[in-house]
Symmetry: C2
Subunit: 243 residues, 2 copies
């Protein structure tokens, strides 16, 4: 199933009001960590899978990328991206499952919080490996398998509404989950850590970095509820190099 | 703190009755997965950290290892190991934190379910990197960060004693946890996935395999409660190569 929840009017409006939408990269809690794992962009050809509003594309262009391509399934998101980011960026509206770029088309592939919307990670790795040059960089963030396993992506509460802990269940049953995101039902695909990491290794990549981002001191002090994000890992950021 | 729970009489007796103690490797649910990640042992010098009853040492000897060294803190376990395994194996009673082998002493380092008893993974990686030859193999299993985070290592139950899910909490607060293992209190050290994996990468290793073992079909059908192990990841097995 190729999902396009972001073209749902209500969902899109809610998403557009999130910090990461209005403030760009500075509004994304994990950006500081992701940034450290990114390669240099100078003179590189960059592909961003699930580019959304194009913030990462814009960052790559501003840091010297020779050419930047953003792919996203959502028409609404790409409309904003085209309006708000550099004209040199090429945007393609397409499900990521359908990309077919020529061999050695890119020096860097990035993807932010997108692959948990896609059923087969193996297939994506194969497609990326094909269009990435040898020694090319592949850096991506995903929702952590701990965060996607149970399904609801919500805490477990006591009868007074206080958080007790975060629940894990059905960890080894990969596949569709219905999560509650911004008050809307969103389909995501749970995959194990093994599927992501061994998938990369088997797909011909060397893993060069793995970090579970934690909120910065600044966010811990300014955003309500952010301290709870120290209780569970919500995201995973991985950097890899094509062998 | 260097722990030696295994020399506690009551704990040792209980541990000695577990399948993995009486049946050896065949009684360890994760062995089938671990075995696939092991390198060839022919003519290799092998070090086993936290060797316990020596089952992995014996396996290495039987598979052609030139020399095998097993290190464990527990006198009781090593007494059994010396009695039950090949005389060519050298056993050393010592906390793993204290090992100081010469450079290039080993071609392979293995460790089974031991590092969660040790506070600093970084220190261990440094010591292993020192005594392992370049391109040497390092393969180990640990309790999964998901399994160690909360502390009790027990499921969360409803009022009738039925399993609801497995709880996660305090994920980013690494350090001491008191787990209930075989009805005894055991101190373990929770570490995040980032600490283990990025620790390896930063320590000069290439990660070559990562698998969260699942119970085999045979175990699912013969061991009561084993099906619940599909609901949470209990272990993580990692293979790496010194660069």
């Amino acid at each position: 199933m190729k999902q396009n929840k972001y073209d749902n009017k209500i969902f899109f409006e809610k998403y557009s009001k999130m910090d990461r939408s209005t403030k760009g990269l500075a509004g994304a809690g994990e950006w500081e960590t992701l940034q450290k794992l990114l390669p240099g962009f100078q003179d590189k050809r960059v592909l961003d899978l699930g580019c959304g509003f194009g913030w990462h594309c814009q960052y790559a262009i501003e840091h010297g990328a020779k050419a930047v391509t953003g792919v996203d399934i959502s028409e609404k998101m790409l409309t904003v991206a085209k309006d708000k980011t550099d004209d040199k960026i090429r945007y393609i509206q397409m499900p990521i499952e359908d990309i077919t770029f020529d061999e050695n088309s890119f020096d860097v592939v990035i993807s932010s919080l997108t692959f948990h919307y896609i059923e087969s990670f193996e297939q994506i790795v194969e497609k990326i490996s094909c269009c990435l040059v040898p020694n090319g960089d592949f850096v991506f963030s995903i929702e952590h398998p701990v965060f996607t396993a149970y399904g609801s992506q919500d805490w477990y509460y006591d009868e007074n509404g206080n958080i007790l802990h975060f629940p894990i269940d059905n960890y080894f049953s990969e596949g569709e989950r219905t999560a509650n995101f911004l008050g809307e039902k969103v389909i995501k695909y749970h995959k194990t850590l093994t599927t992501y990491l061994n998938g990369l290794l088997q797909g011909g990549f060397e893993v060069t970095g793995i970090v579970e981002p934690q909120p910065s001191e600044h966010l811990l002090h300014t955003v309500k509820g952010m301290r709870d994000e120290l209780r569970r890992p919500m995201m995973l950021i991985i950097s890899a190099k094509k062998k």
